[in-house]
């Protein structure tokens, strides 16, 4: 049986991992490779690196750090931010990333999803969706959320966009529930359960993790394939290895990491 995935998300800026409100008050958390290895050793199933400055600066991801990560890391990792074309994606994938995640560029031009799927296979193509509930009770997609001054509410319903994205060739959907993001009161299980009902490809929950119970609740309540979180892991509030042991005790199927073998020459 497939394990539920625990996925730390690392915001990358100028070659380092940062935390803070996007585009403001960034504090350097540490080096990319060093943090990636720490999460790998703790049993993270996958890592997402979000190049937070690539997209607003109109440039593609710096492939040098992607390659440094790929040399050292032996778990899968996804790169997000600044990927707007097949060529952008090719550079990142050839540098060693396993997947690319696209968000606003896919909304600007949905055909990009199909182009990436044709070029690299659906398994490489993750579509990130930022979603917020409107006053009429509908969840709708937000665009350019990386920059508060540019964020736009779209008429597109989140569930419709999930369906369209997977029709076009998305191999995985990351649904970031903005209403719960940063609040640490739990994932938006109700929204994710509705997304699950229309999503036939792997679905990753994002936004709201604050306690171990939140991970259990989103796995059991929304049947998501993975749960992504950033600040609770970076701050040390939740330790990945302790979280996975706890989830296993709660009956959630997870992978408990095996210590690297000592070198026996």
């Amino acid at each position: 049986m497939l394990s539920r995935r625990i996925i730390p998300c690392l915001d990358v800026r100028e070659g380092q991992v940062v935390k803070g409100v996007r585009f403001r008050d960034h504090a350097v958390v540490g080096g990319i490779v060093e943090l990636a290895l720490r999460y790998r050793d703790a049993g993270a199933d996958e890592l997402v690196f979000y190049d937070i400055t690539a997209s607003p600066e109109g440039r593609s991801v710096d492939r040098a750090w992607v390659e440094r990560v790929a040399r050292k890391i032996d778990i899968p990792f996804c790169v997000a931010g600044g990927i707007r074309s097949v060529e952008d994606a090719r550079a990142v994938l050839h540098a060693g990333a396993d997947k690319v995640s696209i968000n606003s560029p896919a909304l600007e031009r949905p055909a990009l999803i199909a182009e990436l799927a044709d070029a690299f296979g659906v398994q490489c193509v993750v579509v990130g969706i930022d979603s917020l509930r409107d006053a009429d009770g509908q969840w709708r997609v937000r665009q350019y959320t990386g920059d508060p001054s540019r964020t736009q509410a779209l008429p597109r319903r989140t569930l419709d966009w999930i369906a369209q994205a997977q029709d076009l060739g998305a191999g995985e959907i990351v649904l970031n529930c903005m209403g719960s993001d940063g609040v640490r009161q739990g994932y938006d299980v109700a929204q994710l359960a509705q997304a699950r009902a229309v999503c036939e490809v792997p679905l990753i929950a994002s936004g709201g993790a604050g306690a171990a119970e939140h991970f259990r609740d989103v796995f059991t309540g929304a049947d998501v394939d993975g749960a992504l979180a950033a600040s609770v892991f970076h701050s040390g509030a939740i330790d990945v290895s302790a979280l996975k042991r706890w989830l296993a005790n709660q009956g959630v199927m997870v992978r408990v990491a095996i210590e690297p073998e000592t070198c026996d020459g």
Binding site: L2, S3, D74, I75, D98
Partner: protein
């Protein structure tokens, strides 16, 4: 001089990742599509991410089909590379190398069974083999695929995603791993080390 391990450059995007994984084990395996270098290598690894049709077309264009078929040293196909070892693939309905007597089938989505099969899944060992030395019965590895090789007498390890399928296959000197050992952490490193020691 001939390298002891070579990676066949058949396209696909995970070649770098496999190469780095071997470097972490102290082996620098060059990427090559040169028939002489492939024939002379002590071990040959055929990686591959992508679709079966374009990959077979590329092997054909490089003149590598008969080269690969005639190899007698240990050969390891990874992910799509394993599927290419089979007789045929439903993906694009294409003839493959014919070294494992199987037809690669599309995984069928079902309730709770998502396709692509993406993530860490448990291995179920079917037989004893030096390739599996030190691998625990409930070890987990990282899979990403939409097509799979059905179980058969060539299956060394099976896994289950809705239905059982081959996770590791062996036939003579040809081996295949459906998952990504280069992305399967400690378990994957051990499997690669075991292959290098064959």
């Amino acid at each position: 001089s001939s390298a002891s391990v070579v990676l066949v450059d058949a396209g696909g995007t995970n070649i770098g990742s496999v190469r780095y994984a071997l470097q972490r084990l102290g082996v620098d395996a060059p990427l090559t599509s040169d028939p002489a270098a492939i024939r002379a290598a002590g071990k040959v690894i055929l990686p591959g991410v992508g679709a079966a049709g374009p990959a077979m077309a590329r092997l054909q264009a490089l003149g590598l089909i008969d080269v690969l078929r005639s190899l007698t040293q240990p050969v390891l196909g990874v992910c799509l590379g394993m599927q290419l070892l089979c007789a045929r693939s439903e993906e694009g309905d294409v003839d493959c190398l014919g070294l494992i007597p199987a037809t690669v089938r599309r995984l069928q989505p079902a309730s709770g069974v998502r396709v692509p099969h993406m993530g860490w899944n448990r291995l179920r060992t079917c037989s004893e083999h030096p390739l599996l030395d030190g691998i625990d019965a409930d070890a987990q590895v990282y899979f990403v695929h939409s097509y799979a090789v059905p179980p058969g007498d060539y299956t060394l390890v099976s896994a289950r995603h809705g239905v059982p399928f081959s996770a590791v296959v062996a036939r003579g000197n040809f081996f295949g791993m459906q998952f990504h050992p280069e992305r399967s952490s400690t378990v994957g490193a051990r499997l690669l080390r075991n292959f290098l020691a064959l």
